[in-house]
């Protein structure tokens, strides 16, 4: 088996007030699409941004992140910049605010390439046009001269994706790329990611709180809760036979057509406040299967599940 493109071990992210990512470990193999799901606040974005060392100033990072075997946390600022946008790139949640409003779309896409050594103007403008065309934006030469406010949300997210893949990265991290979009546009973006993965073999780490998105795209699924990985496994297994009570509750809360009730069951209770210490499993206050030791000791992630009880679900 080949070497993972991304290998995260025991990742910790802490702010002065709280530790928001604790002991996260997982691998992404070349060409793989891995989904990360979890409620908002569970540390998905902080995990993703750690890979490019793009955390807020007050954040402290611990553990290990290896990209193609090289330790990201030990890289010099220049090495990090050389990696950002070239080998590993990122698409963010809000397409409305991700483009600089006073610069042309085409110039911003071209910048992704000039920053990594491509200076020839003709090559750049051709490449920008072909990138825009590849994400389904018609009349790309003219559209490249447009400003962000002249693009719709869906077009901006497509242009952002084009910008992210401009240098043919080995890994694309997409942090809730479709959350701010309506359903039809969501599908277009997901199709775009699927094509990208199929044609250029780019590995994708897809972060979302929408299980339906994951189901259609990812072969592997990582479930995060309160800054920890609670379940990690092949998507179809996790979705059809969840092994962690939190994953199970999450699936219960998704409306499904094949369910008789068709009702949305919200998970009762709130995720723990990272600033408040909580002993034992972080899910125990909300868990229907809670036992005594769950309130005392935190279970380890073993065999892809972080649970003492492992009820038959």
């Amino acid at each position: 088996m080949s070497e993972p493109v991304l290998s995260i071990r025991d990742l910790h992210v802490s702010f002065p007030t709280a530790t928001v990512v604790q002991g996260v470990s997982f691998d992404v193999m070349p060409g793989e699409i891995v989904g990360v799901v979890g409620e908002s606040g569970s540390g998905k974005s902080m995990t993703a941004r750690s890979v490019l060392r793009l955390l807020p100033k007050s954040a402290r990072l611990g553990g290990s992140i290896r990209f193609r075997g090289q330790e990201v946390l030990d890289m010099s600022p220049a090495d990090i910049r050389a990696m950002r946008g070239a080998l590993v790139s990122m698409v963010f949640q809000d397409p409305m605010t991700s483009f600089n409003p006073v610069l042309r779309i085409g110039d911003q896409i071209a910048e992704a390439m000039t920053l990594h050594g491509q200076k020839d103007r003709k090559t750049l403008s051709d490449r920008v046009a072909s990138l825009l065309a590849s994400v389904g934006i018609g009349n790309p030469k003219a559209r490249a001269r447009a400003y962000p406010h002249e693009f719709s949300g869906g077009m901006r997210q497509r242009a952002l994706t084009a910008m992210a893949v401009a240098n043919g990265p080995a890994l694309l991290i997409a942090d809730e790329p479709t959350t701010a979009l309506d359903v039809t546009v969501q599908d277009q973006i997901l199709q775009l990611m699927r094509d990208l993965n199929a044609t250029s073999g780019t590995a994708i780490l897809l972060i979302t709180h929408n299980i339906a998105v994951v189901a259609s795209l990812c072969r592997r699924l990582i479930v995060m809760y309160a800054g920890r990985v609670v379940e990690d496994g092949p998507t179809d297994e996790v979705l059809t036979a969840p092994r962690h009570p939190y994953t199970w509750s999450l699936l219960q809360s998704v409306p499904r057509l094949d369910r008789a009730t068709g009702r949305l069951v919200a998970i009762k209770g709130q995720p723990p406040d990272p600033a408040e210490p909580l002993a034992g499993c972080k899910f125990h206050p909300r868990c229907p299967w809670v036992e005594e030791r769950c309130t005392r000791d935190e279970p380890p992630l073993e065999d892809g599940v972080r649970c003492w009880v492992r009820p038959a679900l």
């Binding site: 490019l52 793009l54 910049r81 050389a82 990696m83 950002r84 946008g85 070239a86 790139s89 990122m90 963010f92 809000d94 605010t97 991700s98 483009f99 600089n100 409003p101 006073v102 610069l103 910048e111 992704a112 920053l115 990594h116 400003y147 406010h149 952002l160 910008m163």
Partner: protein, 324 residues
């Protein structure tokens, strides 16, 4: 492309400015006539006979109703004739033009210095927002902002001219030596140091404060994170991404404060004996030289309107969202 857009925007704003200019002219004219003091009295000198006073009034049209005077003034103004100075008997326009270069030199230099230093200070403190250096800069700029210009001017004169004798305290050039060429330029520059510093200080602190706030806001935007994720360096993010957005605020502040700078120039010119429009203005008020006062008021208002137009257009060119 840019030139076409700029001239279109400028034309539209110029058309919008026409009623404004008219209002300024009318207000100036009537307000000055409302001010106390009878120009005929001043023109006629000490203890004139009533007949002579009436003759002076008739000669300058001062016996007509204010409305008639205004229409006559307007009709002449449209042909470029703004009347004659009561004091020097020279055409108002010529008197103003003669003094204009000195004011442009000082105000323009002060604006350029204030913009460059203000932007550098604002960006530098936004980069270190919350640090000790930032707090120090903010306090210093609050101080600079709250000190009146005439007082700063006097302090600078006392320190750098009277005590240290580094820079001359008044005038635009050394009175006795008549320098030419490069030496002359040096001499004028030397005389400009204190008045320009005094005048620039207020604008500089305004620019620094607003630029800092706009930069902090810009640096917090998602597009900055996106630029970082593309591999942009700190400096590129600061200037190419954040400042390109923040400078719209900076330019707006410069445009809006230009009127205050020009008003400040009057004070500074008097404190430093600078032979510009401000000095002329002051003397015209003192001598109740109404035509000259009207002309000078109008002229400076037009300049303020013009500068605001240019800053509006510059903002629109820099931020495509404001372009219409």
């Amino acid at each position: 492309m840019v030139i076409a857009v700029a001239s279109r925007l400028l034309l539209r704003r110029a058309l919008l400015a026409v009623p404004l200019v008219f209002a300024v002219v009318a207000l100036t004219f009537f307000f000055i006539r409302l001010a106390p003091g009878d120009p005929a009295q001043i023109l006629a000198g000490d203890a004139p006979t009533p007949e002579f006073l009436a003759q002076v009034r008739a000669e300058y049209g001062l016996d007509q109703p204010v409305w008639t005077q205004f229409l006559a003034f307007l009709a002449k103004a449209l042909t470029g004739d703004f009347g004659t100075s009561l004091y020097s008997k020279q055409p108002v326009f010529a008197v103003i033009l003669e003094r204009f270069p000195a004011t442009v030199l000082m105000t323009g230099t002060a604006m350029i210095v204030a913009s460059i230093v203000g932007i550098l200070v604002g960006v530098a403190s936004a980069k270190r927002a919350g640090s000790h250096a930032d707090t120090l800069i903010s306090s210093a700029s609050l101080l600079g902002y709250s000190m009146p210009g005439f007082w700063v001017g006097q302090l600078l004169v006392l320190l750098f001219s009277v005590s240290l004798d580094w820079f001359p305290a008044t005038g635009m050039e050394a009175a006795r030596a008549s320098y030419t060429g490069w030496r002359h330029i040096q001499d004028v520059a030397w005389h400009m140091v204190l008045p320009v510093t005094t005048l620039a200080l207020f604008l500089l602190t305004m620019i620094a404060r607003f630029t800092r706030a706009a930069m902090i806001d810009a640096l917090d935007q998602d597009y900055v994170l996106v630029a970082e994720a593309k591999g942009a360096s700190r400096n590129r993010i600061l200037w190419h991404h954040a400042f390109r957005n923040a400078c719209v605020t900076t330019i707006t502040v410069i445009g809006l404060e230009f009127g205050a700078v020009l008003a400040g120039a009057v004070v500074v010119e008097i404190v430093f004996g600078w032979p510009g429009l401000g000095r002329l203005f002051y003397d015209a008020i003192y001598r109740r030289d109404f035509p000259l006062l009207t002309g000078a008021f109008m002229f400076s208002s037009l300049i303020v309107i013009g500068v605001n137009m240019v800053s509006d257009v510059a903002c629109a060119l820099l931020d495509p969202r404001i372009r219409r």
